[in-house]
Amino acid sequence: MSAAAGYNRRELFRRAAGLTALAVTGGPLLAACAGGGGGATGTASAVATSAGNPLGVEASAPLEVVIFKGGFGDDYAKAFEALYTKTYASAKITHTPTQDVTGLLQPRFNAGSPPDVVDDSGAKQIKLDVLHKAGQLADLTPLLEAPYLDDPSKKVKDVLQPGTIEHGSFDGKMYSLNYVYSISGLWYSGKLFKEKGWTAPKTWADFITLCATIKAAGVAPFCHQGKYPYYINVVIMDLLARQGGADIIHRVDALDTTVWDGPEAKAAIEAVYQLVDHDYLLPGTNGMTHTESQTAWNQYKAAFVPCGSWLENEQLKLTPDDFEMTFLPMPSLPGDKLPPTSLRAGADEPFIVPAKAKNVQGGMEFLRMMLTKEGAGQFAQQANAVTVLKDGIGPDVKLRPGTKSAVAALTAAGSDVFNYDYPNTQSAFDIELGNASTELMANRIKPDEWLKRAKSAAEKAKKA
């Protein structure tokens, strides 16, 4: 009798099931945790620095560029690469577009062989605080101190929009160049408002009054991207920043728990809660994705939507031609410390040079070339967005209505721009704050409870 007869069908089933238990469940989850070995450090370039080559770039060293191919596409990056080749003709450039930065690069960071420039953006970005703590980011100070290519009498750090350096810094040193300058606030359709005879409100009280008018006209006054609480948090936190000024922004970022006991936070959250309390939300908006809610807004189903200035490019194909997308700075509350023109403006789309890259100098040089009029102009044309280069866009660049109104608002704001760091530096706190806001918008909790949750989230994040 053969040995195979010793196994009956049932036995086989059991074994198969046992093996499957191992293979199916644990497999993907556990395997995700497995890292690689290695840890080679980048080789420092031996090329001496000079006036023409302040960063000491080795002309023939290959350059590997990884670009997040999202709303801005990746054509702009090819234009930058062409700029680099113009100066360093012998350098071989590798261009890799991706939508999954983590999937592509996490193993390479762990193995100590990352690329030379990374546009670390998108839903699958590798968090910068995590990379920084792991010592994977090159200090970009040499780039900031290098001469500006269009006008060598200036340094790169002198031609950046306010907040760019701070926003890309950890412990006082810049590690990421956030290239796209975007502003946040409310948006409406100029056409709809003209048609109905509504005027854009300046104060929050006017805003709430107008909401009543809008609702009476059969349009939902306000929608937000409920599936991702980031957007409604921008509204809440911007009202808070206006109330308390730079001091409160600093305290929020520093996880100061007393912020949430103060009158500023109470005023901000109670203002936003009025939208819920008066039932001014687009039905279903709390469960909608950004695309669903912004499209409903494009279809005139809702009057206002909160968003950053990438909105126009994001909704390009869904916006009616005569929509007249218009930016509105957040309406002001009584007792605001910052003026009503002030707004959240910040540098996004972080470009990094990995510390262990083979061509760190080339990576920084690439960033320096992005920060030129030619680079910024290319970007504005390919991606409908403004960069962090001050006055980077000449009068010859034609802007779409939404971007135009955003640039006008930015000019009106002057130096009164602000931004928070906590979304980048305190991920866990940010997530809990978002959860609380989701509950508030669905009217499952009241402002007092929101403040309690915000406080305990800050406490928890501080301990961790």
Partner: protein, 310 residues
């Protein structure tokens, strides 16, 4: 020729076993190692923290909540799917009213089989998109649209299915059952067809009704298959990552609103990739691993019965 057998077996096994060891067992072992460190996931620098991560898990409310949700799915998903699939399989194979004494399924059984199996050929991503449209929180969603047409719902206050803390987990469960029942229906059908017809015929002659036939004949003869199905479904209930992370509210892998659809896998991924707590995430992975292992062992042992040969 006995001595020739082992080289023969080894020759066949060496490649798959090596692959399995390198790609499955070794990463498992690494994960155990990482779970004892404060590894942040982006470099090879880490410190040994002993069982600290496991201690923290015991006091992590979000983790315990997620574990609870997985256990709820574990309690409901296998039972619901198996009962539904068994019922359908029975109706499609032996549930029809026999005309001239023959045993057969209800009319149109073949078409039903194709229909029920269809969700199985869709990828999870398509399932998620499809069901997001069904659960859409405004009048454009299938459920809300129908409710509004029937006048059962105020258009100004629709049910926000996936954004409702009390409904979200059940919504996900519904998708899982819908997608899974077809596969088990086919599995059970195959098993039922291997049961000799004469057993059913004699039962019919003895005057057994549908219910009796099902409980006295079909179920006992299908026990092996049901057992396998249970193990597979239990494993599925410990995962559910794809659906929860794409369909539910919340930044980075969903799990909302307010952690009410959080499962271990989404919380693990958020800690691993978003918070940079990879060591902590690995500890969660180890917990899932043991849960699944113990569950499978228990399931197979408890349901062990005498085998009926036919």
């Amino acid at each position: 020729m006995r001595h020739r057998r082992y080289p023969f077996i080894i020759g066949f096994l060496i490649a798959p076993v090596t692959l399995y060891a390198a790609l499955v067992l070794w990463p498992y072992l690494q994960t155990f190692g990482y779970s004892l460190t404060d590894w942040n996931g982006q470099s090879q620098e880490m410190h040994f923290v002993g069982l600290g991560n496991y201690g923290k898990l015991l006091h992590d409310e979000v983790f315990l909540g997620a574990l609870g949700h997985n256990l709820l799915l574990l309690a409901v998903l296998p039972v619901a799917t198996i009962l539904l699939a068994l019922f359908f399989a029975f109706m499609l194979n032996v549930g029809g009213r026999g005309g001239a004494g023959g045993v057969r399924g209800v009319r149109g059984a073949a078409a039903y089989k194709v229909l029920f199996f269809l969700p199985q050929v869709l990828s999870v991503a398509i399932l998620a998109v499809l069901w997001e449209a069904v659960y859409r929180p405004d009048g454009g969603g299938l459920f809300n649209g129908v409710l509004q047409v029937l006048g059962l719902q105020d258009a100004g206050h629709p049910v926000e299915w996936l954004a409702d803390p009390d409904l979200v987990l059940w919504c996900i469960l519904g998708v899982l059952i819908w997608a899974g029942a077809g596969f088990y229906l086919v599995l059970f059908s195959a098993a039922m067809q291997s049961v000799p017809k004469d057993i059913y015929e004699s039962a019919l002659l003895d005057g057994a009704g549908r219910g009796q036939t099902f409980f006295r004949i079909t179920l006992p003869l299908l026990w092996d298959t049901v057992q396998t199905a249970w193990v597979y479904l239990a494993i599925a209930a410990m995962d559910v990552f794809a659906l929860v992370s794409t369909m539910t509210v919340g930044a980075s892998y969903g799990g909302g609103p307010d952690h009410r659809s959080e499962i271990i896998a989404t919380y693990l991924m958020r800690n691993f990739l978003f918070f940079g707590k990879a060591g902590y995430a690995c500890a969660m992975g180890v917990v899932i691993f043991f849960f699944t292992l113990v569950l499978s062992a228990v399931a197979l042992r408890v349901t062990r019965r005498e085998r009926i040969e036919f």
